[in-house]
């Protein structure tokens, strides 16, 4: 190892650290502000770290807003969406992958074409439909539009296609119904695809603002991103500490989940790039 190599490594590392610091600055600042007192935040001199760690802002965030409610809403909506997405997608994917029937390629063609359509494009008619059904301002309005995931069907179909046909033949000879084959044989074997899809779906819907902004006006139903905007707009710039504490609480679930399961997380989100 010569000295030129060593200098090269040092420069690369220094640049990588500098970049990482810039990328992490918003996270650091969010944490720092969430522990600072009102006086400290509005003082003319600025300090990077809070004087002392005090949890008042977190207490205020939970007391003054329905932060807990926002988190529960996020959980209900993401859980509901994922449940129905898999309920619809898996049997369909199994049929497309392991059964021969008329209309099979037509349905798969629909799935592929559906991948081209971003959700925003369907928002206006779906809004009209939900208004007609008097479902706006309900959990249903937040869950229903997303239950048909062509991306889910696509991923599951790819996974189940790769499984040996004999496996399913054997199950049929053993007298299992087609539904039982889909749920008790195909699903457990398709777990890697299911995990990637689940991560992609939950992250996308936990973070979504577009649809909650349209479908609900009742703060009691707001998922976290919609909720924090209600909070910000109400407090009109004076409660920076509690606002940052609320941001920490909302960002934390996905960030912690990511740090605990990095490889799966990255896989799940990278696979999402296939979607239009």
């Amino acid at each position: 190892m010569n000295s030129r190599n060593l200098i090269g490594r040092a420069i690369v590392l220094a640049l990588l650290f500098l970049g990482a610091m810039l990328v992490l600055t918003p996270f650091f600042w969010m944490l720092s502000l969430s522990f600072k007192s009102q006086v400290e935040i509005f003082s003319p001199t600025i300090s990077l770290f809070p004087d002392q760690l005090q949890w008042d802002n977190y207490r205020a965030a939970f007391e003054r807003t329905t932060l807990l409610r926002f988190l529960v809403n996020g959980l209900v909506v993401c859980g509901g969406i994922l449940f129905f997405q898999i309920l619809f997608a898996l049997p369909c994917a199994y049929a497309l992958a392991q059964r021969r029937f008329r209309g099979r390629s037509l349905i798969f063609g629909l799935v592929l074409a559906g991948l081209l359509v971003p959700f925003h494009v369907t928002a206006i008619p779906i809004f009209l439909g939900l208004a007609e059904l008097r479902l706006l301002n309900t959990y249903g309005a937040l869950i229903l539009p997303f239950v048909a995931s062509v991306f889910g069907i696509f991923l599951f179909r790819q996974a189940i296609s790769a499984m040996p046909v004999e496996l399913f033949e054997a199950a049929r000879i053993d007298g299992l119904s087609e539904g039982a084959i889909a749920w008790r044989i195909a699903l457990p074997l398709a777990m890697p695809a299911a995990t990637a899809f689940a991560i992609f779906s939950v992250v996308a819907h936990w973070n979504d603002l577009f649809w909650p902004l349209i479908a609900i006006s009742d703060p009691a139903l707001a998922p976290p991103p919609r909720g924090i905007l209600y909070f910000r707009d109400e407090e009109s710039g004076t409660d920076v500490g509690p606002l940052m504490a609320a941001a920490v609480v909302i960002v934390a679930p996905m960030v912690v989940a990511f740090l605990l399961a990095q490889r799966r997380f990255i896989q799940g989100l990278a696979v999402g790039g296939l979607k239009g």
Binding site: R9, M30, C92, R104, I124, V255, I266
Partner: protein, 300 residues
């Protein structure tokens, strides 16, 4: 007789397995897309009892009216900044981390997690944090600039600046994603190609890059370009959180215009026309992506 029972049972099973999802896909995707396309030629307003066909009027307003057009031009400018820079930084970080991985794998993994963090974090909440960072008087950014005797601007309310500020946030949010895709691309390059290049006399770092790494990353790069482009054209969360398209439409973008015209002003027909323009842009990128994926399959 038994044969007929059998085929009927089979057909029923197919219907039962694939039917619900197919109906849901039709009702939630294909019918809505057709309705949006039709609505874009009407003056329909949410809540109205009737509507008139107005031909291409909505599209003409969108193209001719200088304010309305900003949604299109701003989106293109935003994408033109975010796409190249986010890809360039993603590639540089991936190259750096890939080389660090050889002698310090733990450190490389930690840095990778740091760069990926903004991808996993809830963008709306982080946008609220950016608002504090960029606050004209209280923000960290302007405090640091003041320490260097520079008067920091109003990043989010200056008409000439706001779009670039949003683009910086967009780059911050997407670099980690591109980095991950490039890291996967780099890991797939077989080591013996570098050995071969060395025998051919390419032994400096950047010679190795141009002769081996860059050509081998070709398919990855094209994929990254398309994914970043579709993402950039969909910019919404930061605009809705930080600027609401303002000041004076300086940061208006397509998806935000869909939301504002449709769901704030209830102009469903006009908003449908914006939707169709947005759809055409995204469609072009996504079709390009599918073409790329097909050609990649053929290589292997």
């Amino acid at each position: 007789m038994r044969l007929i029972d059998r085929t009927r049972a089979e057909a029923l099973a197919n219907l039962w397995l694939a039917g619900p999802a197919t109906v849901a896909v039709l009702v939630l995707i294909f019918i809505p897309v057709s309705i949006v396309a039709l609505l874009s030629f009407t003056d329909y307003q949410f809540g109205a009892r009737s509507f008139n066909w107005v031909g291409f009027d909505n599209y003409l307003i969108l193209i001719k009216d200088p304010q309305a057009r900003r949604a299109i031009t701003n989106t293109i400018v935003y994408a033109a900044i975010v796409i190249p820079l986010s890809i360039l930084f993603g590639l540089l970080v991936a190259l750096g981390l890939h080389s660090v991985m050889r002698y310090a794998p733990r450190l490389s993994a930690i840095l990778r997690a740091a760069y990926f963090l903004p991808v996993a974090a809830t963008l709306v909440a982080m946008a609220v944090v950016w608002q504090m960072l960029l606050h004209p008087n209280l923000g960290l950014v302007n405090h640091l600039l003041a320490a260097a005797d520079i008067r920091g601007p109003a990043w989010l309310s200056d008409r000439g600046l706001v779009l670039y500020t949003l683009a910086v946030i967009g780059i911050w949010q997407t670099v980690g994603y591109n980095m991950v895709l490039f890291l996967a691309g780099l890991a797939a390059i077989p080591e013996h190609l570098y050995d071969a290049a060395e025998i051919d006399g390419a032994n400096r770092g950047w010679e190795r890059f141009w002769t081996v790494t860059w050509p081998m990353l070709g398919p990855t790069t094209l994929f990254v370009v398309v994914v970043t482009a579709t993402g950039a054209f969909r910019v919404f969360e930061t605009v809705a959180t930080l600027t609401r398209g303002g000041p004076a439409f300086a940061s208006d973008v397509l998806v935000y215009a869909i939301y504002r015209e449709g769901f704030v002003y209830f102009k469903a027909g006009y908003s449908s026309a914006i939707t169709m323009v947005f759809f055409v842009f995204v469609l072009l990128f996504t079709l390009a992506k599918f073409r790329l994926m097909e050609s990649r399959v053929h290589y292997r």
